[in-house]
């Protein structure tokens, strides 16, 4: 079978500007893989893409049940997109449980493709259904395409002599082939993937999966129910070379870049936890970059090992999610006292306690701000998108080393597992992060003073192995300058003030807050973290609808950018949408005494653009035109 025979369709092609597809099935059905392939292929075709993987915490929840449904939503478009899309153009459901738990998001007239072979009585029973949803009169609302995927796949791969189970496993590629035909997706990248993944030693599996993919494509071409296919042209992105990148991957790569820029090697210590573990997996692959990964016995050991490495002069990093950050709390306070550079990365998930391990939330902001004993501030930065994770960890490392303190980076499950096109940076143009380890004694009249400070109040990072600079650090309050144990009341006040001022000094090293839209007006939307895409899109839509609204997306949550208060004062109202019950709002209200309004949701899902757009419209007058002046 040649690629040429399937590379173009005989049927008419309808060009559209964007498509949102959700693929849903059992958690063992390979929906995540299917979604990643569709994303990658669309990105390679030059579309802008945004994704939303949504899967259960259980590895294999009972088959066919509603609890076991795993989904992957992707929007690909010929224009910039910042969210995976509010409403679906197409829903592909591999079983009844997947269908009934997702149908609400498919609007009337939407395309619904189902594997009709999995709507037998036993399947309905597993989904707790008495009658088949396919027989329901409401199905008339959708363009329902019933495909006997299981049977067709088995027939297609019969020639390879696979067992029944292995043959059945190929059906996700059959579904993929059909989707690829429908949206004019080129199969080359996925074929490369199939042969790369299954090629070695078991090429029959690879061949069978290829056959299933091609059969799905041919099925689309053949059946009369699908009169035409769609296509989405390339988006006009900034010129350059792109690749698709996921948040946790970008974060790992950002750490590699930060290490190279500062002439350090990454010492990465962590304990497995969803949704941060992929950072460990990713970094463990890059030992040839000098990366040392240490899977510690627990969260506390992980952060403490990173502190040990920092004392030794290396780039100490630990990552976790909310429950693990809670355990690291005391050690983070130690790093504040030792005044050592350290990165603590929190990939947030639904809480409290174990909460919703695989679902997204932004509810750890106050934990990382205040969750330590004593007066223990530290800088907090938040990534806004998968690609931004690459940038933000480098900024965090710059702060940590220039100020000698631990820095927290917030990501979340949505960013961690989401993907977007990433403009590949020119590594030769990455600027160095300057780090000095003193070689000589800074005290002509006695022993080395480990807490003698520079103009930013940072202490010298003297490391073991340096003759003459032996010194002891510890969690007990220290005398400024000498670092000796001190219980002196005046000294304690002074040290608390210094540690706070060091954090405040971070604002001097960071860019000022930018505003998108009018520089003054009726409403300012203040957003942070992974809700950037939805907030940006909603604000842009509201601006187009004539509302007086601007967006300030805050990447630096502690300290706030020095111009933030002044920006806030130029708007009549402030709206702070958050996937928590109002944590940034609490900080903004207390800091700037502004009556900010919240839009809050904790359902384990990202915001839809529509709900934010409606909230913005509710808070603004329709007659307003946006001010002429606007900056990016």
């Amino acid at each position: 079978m040649s690629t040429e025979s399937l590379s173009s369709t005989e049927k008419p092609v309808k060009f559209v500007s964007g498509i949102t597809v959700r693929l849903v099935g059992d958690s063992g059905d390979g929906m995540q893989l299917l979604g990643q392939q569709l994303t990658n292929t669309s990105a390679l075709l030059g579309n802008d893409v945004a994704t939303f993987p949504d899967f259960p915490a259980e590895i294999r929840a009972p088959r066919g049940t509603r609890a076991g449904v795993s989904g992957f939503q992707v929007q690909f478009a010929s224009h910039e997109v910042h969210t995976p899309g509010d409403t679906l153009d197409a829903l592909v459901a591999m079983n009844p449980a997947a269908l009934v738990t997702n149908l609400a998001d498919l609007p009337k007239g939407g395309l619904l493709i189902v594997n009709e072979d999995s709507f037998e009585e036993k399947d309905l029973k597993l989904a707790k259904l008495n009658t088949s949803p396919l027989e329901d009169p409401s199905m008339e609302n959708y363009r329902l395409i019933k495909v006997p995927m299981t049977r067709l796949t088995k027939e297609a791969v019969a020639e390879f002599g696979l067992g029944s189970k292995d043959a059945d496993r190929c059906k996700n590629f059959f579904a993929m082939g059909l989707v690829y035909w429908l949206y004019g997706r080129n199969m080359d990248a996925t074929l490369r993937f199939i042969h790369g993944k299954f090629g070695a030693g078991k090429s029959v599996i690879a061949d069978a999966n290829e056959k299933a993919l091609r059969s799905g494509w041919a099925f689309g071409e053949t059946i009369e129910a699908l009169g035409h296919s769609y296509n989405v042209e390339a988006a006009k992105l900034t010129p350059g070379t792109y690749r698709n990148i996921m948040g946790n991957q970008a974060l790992a790569w950002g750490l590699l870049a930060a290490a190279q820029r500062s002439g350090k090697e990454v010492f990465y210590a962590s304990y497995p936890i969803t949704p941060a573990s992929d950072i460990l997996h990713e970094l463990a692959r890059y030992k040839n970059f000098g990366v040392c990964t240490f899977q510690a016995e627990d969260e506390i050991a992980a952060v403490c090992a990173a502190i040990g490495a920092a004392y030794g002069g290396q780039m100490g990093v630990t990552t976790s999610s909310g429950p693990g950050i809670a355990l690291k709390t005391e050690a983070m306070g130690l790093a504040i006292m030792l005044e050592l550079p350290l990165l603590v990365i929190d990939v947030q998930r639904g809480g409290p306690s174990t909460g919703l391990p695989t679902k997204t939330e932004q509810a750890d902001l106050l934990q990382v701000m205040f969750g330590r004993n004593g007066e223990a501030p530290l800088p907090v930065l938040a990534a806004r998108s998968p690609g931004d994770c690459f940038e933000i960890v480098q900024e965090a490392w710059m702060l940590a080393t220039q100020l000698m303190l631990p820095v927290v980076v917030l990501s979340d499950g949505y960013i961690a597992n989401g993907a977007e096109p990433w403009l590949i940076p020119d590594v030769s143009k990455l600027s160095p992060i300057k780090i000095e380890h003193p070689q000589g004694n800074n005290n002509p009249n006695g022993p080395f003073k480990p807490y003698l400070r520079n103009e930013l109040l940072a202490r010298p990072w003297a490391i073991p192995g340096t003759p003459g600079l032996m010194h002891r650090v510890g969690g007990i309050e220290k005398e400024d300058g000498t670092g000796n144990i001190s219980y002196d009341p005046e000294n304690h006040q002074k040290m608390v003030n210094i540690r706070a001022q060091k954090v405040a000094n971070a604002a001097k090293l960071l860019p000022p807050q930018q505003v998108l839209g009018p520089q003054s007006g009726e409403l300012l939307v203040l957003s942070w973290g992974g809700t950037y895409g939805a907030c940006l899109t909603a604000v842009q839509q509201a601006q187009e609808a004539g509302r007086s609204v601007a967006l300030a997306h805050v990447r630096y949550l502690n300290p706030f950018p020095s111009n933030l208060g002044e920006i806030i004062s130029r708007y009549e109202k402030v709206l702070i949408p958050e996937l928590n019950m109002g944590q940034l709002r609490m900080l903004i209200r207390s800091r700037y005494l502004v009556d900010a309004v919240g839009y809050n949701k904790v359902k384990g899902k990202p915001f839809t653009v529509t709900e934010l757009f409606e909230k913005i419209c509710e808070m603004t007058k329709s007659a307003h035109r946006p001010n002429a002046v606007s900056t990016k």
Partner: protein, 339 residues
């Protein structure tokens, strides 16, 4: 470089800080022996790091003029592991106590031992919480009256040596604070071992648990209540060296050598490379039924953790070449958007 100038003395390791342990505390003796043996070990102060947790013993790093970290309760093994992994060139000591290592830090303690990180851990066992003023610890004996157990301790105590052999530590030893010659020898042997060296030191807290180890400390009794382990030698003890330890099935027993019925050859010969089962049996020898062994229980050589970890890094570099960021970023599927 003149070697004559580089001969290290105890003073080279003395810091300028006032030592703030209670007068008469056993910690002074351990500090003195450490300062005595450090120059003999010959590693310069700038290459040496002491890491401690929380407790009386954990103030130790302030009193030696090396690099040091006084960390948080129970976590010194984790801090030390991170330091040693990233800086294998350094000589690292962990100073801890019975509460620090076996209660709040129990998890880190066993994982340090099983990984065999090349560092030395000295556990000051005084069977009490001293710094918090007298609560019972995981090594306090059953029935012990303390501030938190006015009617006596009901917990069964942990045996540090048994825990260490359970975690398959490669070097396990015990000494006594007042037995300064023995202590110095054990510390030196610990330092010489490649891998995790674990040393339990019986240490008297004269304020909150005075005399807990007097049987092992007093010159009058210690020859009968302790037995010095010597590699390759029969296990003989007693002021008159007239008692021995014999293996009987899966148990140890005290035998009398005086009447000549039992010969030296019938005794258990100490073997530092013996099966862990035997080390475990030795760890169970408790006063007063048995003399308590002091010296080196076990000394075997395994690959160290940092050798294995750094070895994989070196292997990755030699197999795949030094990592190239630009190549990594451009790997896999990419596409170009033209201007």
């Amino acid at each position: 470089m003149s070697t004559a100038l580089n001969v290290l003395k105890a003073d080279d390791f003395a810091s300028d800080q006032d030592v703030r342990w209670c007068p008469g505390c056993g910690d002074y003796s351990i500090l003195a022996q450490m300062k005595k043996v450090l120059p003999e070990i010959g590693i310069p102060p700038e290459q040496t790091v002491f890491i401690s947790g929380i407790g009386c013993s954990s103030r130790f790093p302030y009193y030696v003029n090396t690099y040091g970290v006084h960390s948080i309760h129970g976590r010194a093994p984790a801090v030390a592991t991170g330091l040693k992994l990233s800086r294998p060139d350094l000589s690292v000591w962990v100073i801890t106590g019975d509460g620090d290592a076996l209660s709040i830090g129990g998890n880190h303690f066993i994982h340090l031992l099983r990984r065999n990180v090349d560092l030395n851990i000295v556990l000051f066992n005084n069977r009490i919480y001293g710094l918090t003023k007298g609560q019972y610890s995981p090594t306090s004996v059953e029935g012990q009256i303390t501030k938190s157990t006015p009617m006596g301790v009901v917990d069964h105590p942990l045996n540090p040596i048994s825990i260490a052999i359970g975690a398959e530590a490669t070097f396990i030893a015990r000494s006594v604070d007042s037995n300064i010659k023995h202590l110095a020898t054990v510390l030196k042997r610990a330092a010489a071992h490649r891998g995790t060296s674990f040393v339990e030191v019986y240490q008297n807290c004269n304020v909150f648990n005075d005399g807990a180890f007097s049987y092992a400390q007093d010159k009058a009794t210690r020859d009968d209540t302790t037995i010095e382990l010597e590699h390759g030698k029969p296990m003989i003890f007693g002021k008159n060296r007239d008692k021995g330890i014999r293996l009987n099935g899966l148990s140890l027993e005290v035998v009398d050598l005086a009447d000549g019925k039992v010969k030296e050859d019938d005794l258990l010969f100490h073997d530092e490379q013996a099966d862990p089962v035997l080390v475990y049996l030795l760890s169970r020898m408790r006063h007063p039924a048995f003399p308590e062994p002091i010296g080196v229980f076990r000394n075997v050589v395994h690959e160290t953790f940092e050798e294995a970890v750094r070895g994989q890094i070196d292997q990755a570099v030699s197999q795949r070449g030094k990592g190239d960021l630009q190549k990594l970023f451009n790997s896999g599927d990419t596409w170009t958007v033209k201007a």
